[in-house]
């Protein structure tokens, strides 16, 4: 989705003529994604070991026009960053296979990477939050990653 496009509102898919909606049924446009227009092309790296969560989070980021690359373990994330690929945003889970999110975050920060890092995790204990923040994420977010949390961050990255 290019930011300059005037996106048509989209309802749910249907193959018929629309039928007659009963009283009280509200048709809702897909307006929340249309309301957020990014001036710049933002890129994000998503690091999550769970295929399902990657699908959901990638879908959400892409709905806002963020070009997203996903990997399923911490080592792959570190190697990608070490190869010189740059991102505006890194979304990283705490428990990851091969190399965990805490260590991956430390290693990414140790490379001098200063981009926004969101720790998006099912972990919720205070000690886990403190550990993730100490490792170098800017924001600790308990799953799910929601538009309410994501949109202000995207706007900030976009310089709005």
């Amino acid at each position: 989705m290019a930011p300059s496009e005037n996106l048509a509102p989209a309802g749910r898919a249907n193959t018929g003529n629309g039928g007659g909606a009963p009283n009280g049924v509200e048709k809702q446009q897909r307006c929340q994604f249309n309301e957020v227009v990014l001036r710049n092309r933002l890129t994000a790296l998503l690091v999550d070991g769970n295929r399902f969560c990657r699908t959901i989070e990638q879908g959400l980021l892409r709905a806002y026009g963020v070009e997203t690359l996903a990997v399923d373990n911490g080592r792959a994330a570190v190697e990608l960053i070490a190869s010189g690929v740059k991102f505006n945003l890194i979304v990283i889970d705490m428990l990851l296979p091969i190399l965990n999110g805490l260590e991956a975050t430390r290693q990414i920060r140790a490379m001098g990477v200063r981009c926004k890092m969101l720790g998006v995790t099912a972990c919720s204990y205070e000690r886990e939050r403190e550990a993730f923040l100490a490792a170098g994420v800017d924001v600790f977010i308990e799953k799910p990653l929601s538009p309410e949390i994501l949109v202000p961050i995207l706007r900030e990255l976009d310089g709005q």
Binding site: A10, G11, R12, A13, N14, T15, G16, N17, G18, G19, G20, A21, P22, G24, V25, E26, K27, Q28, R30, Q32, F33, G49, N50, R51, F52, C53, T55, I56, E57, G59, L60, A63, D93, L95, T121, A122, C123, S124, E142, K143, P144, L145, S146, P147
Partner: protein, 154 residues
């Protein structure tokens, strides 16, 4: 049954799933991600959730059946299930996982086994509910109608 009645039935059924705590607002967020370019997004991610969850529940059953339970492994599986259930909006499953993690922390095998049963029960309940929801949607589309979007205004 005419399309309008079917749509009304779908709306009522969907509302009941929220009122009874099976689903939360995150499910509505997923529906927002579905559009003409991705018309089957919700069904696809829900299927992925089913596959993912059943594997995790099997892994949990095996992990808790070991003579020396590795609670770190159990916690990792519960963590995954908590993440995916919260990401789809399966509220009761997520809440079950929160309790489960606490008992993993305490290394309380009996309590973990009870939690596993509880989480399995909640998972199969929400699975049945979602499958019924999709059947209602398919009936509406087959009859030429459109699926009304829900708002959390109830």
């Amino acid at each position: 049954m005419e399309v309008g009645q079917m749509q009304g039935r779908l709306v009522d059924y969907t509302k009941s799933l929220f009122m009874e705590g099976f689903l939360d607002g995150q499910f509505l967020q997923l529906q927002q991600l579905q559009d003409e370019s991705n018309p089957d997004f919700v069904v696809e991610v829900v299927s992925l959730f089913f596959d993912d969850s059943e594997k995790l529940l099997n892994d949990l059953t095996m992990a808790l059946d070991q003579p020396n339970v590795d609670f770190k492994k159990v916690d990792a599986h519960v963590h995954q299930l908590k993440g995916s259930s919260s990401s789809i909006g399966a509220q009761r499953v997520k809440n079950g996982c929160i309790a489960f993690r606490n008992f993993c922390e305490e290394q309380n095998i009996e309590a973990c086994l009870r939690c596993l049963q509880q989480v399995k029960q909640e998972y199969y309940l929400v699975k049945n509910k979602l499958e019924a929801l999709f059947r209602l949607e398919q009936q509406i589309v087959a009859a030429g109608g459109s699926i009304p979007m829900m708002e959390m205004g109830f």
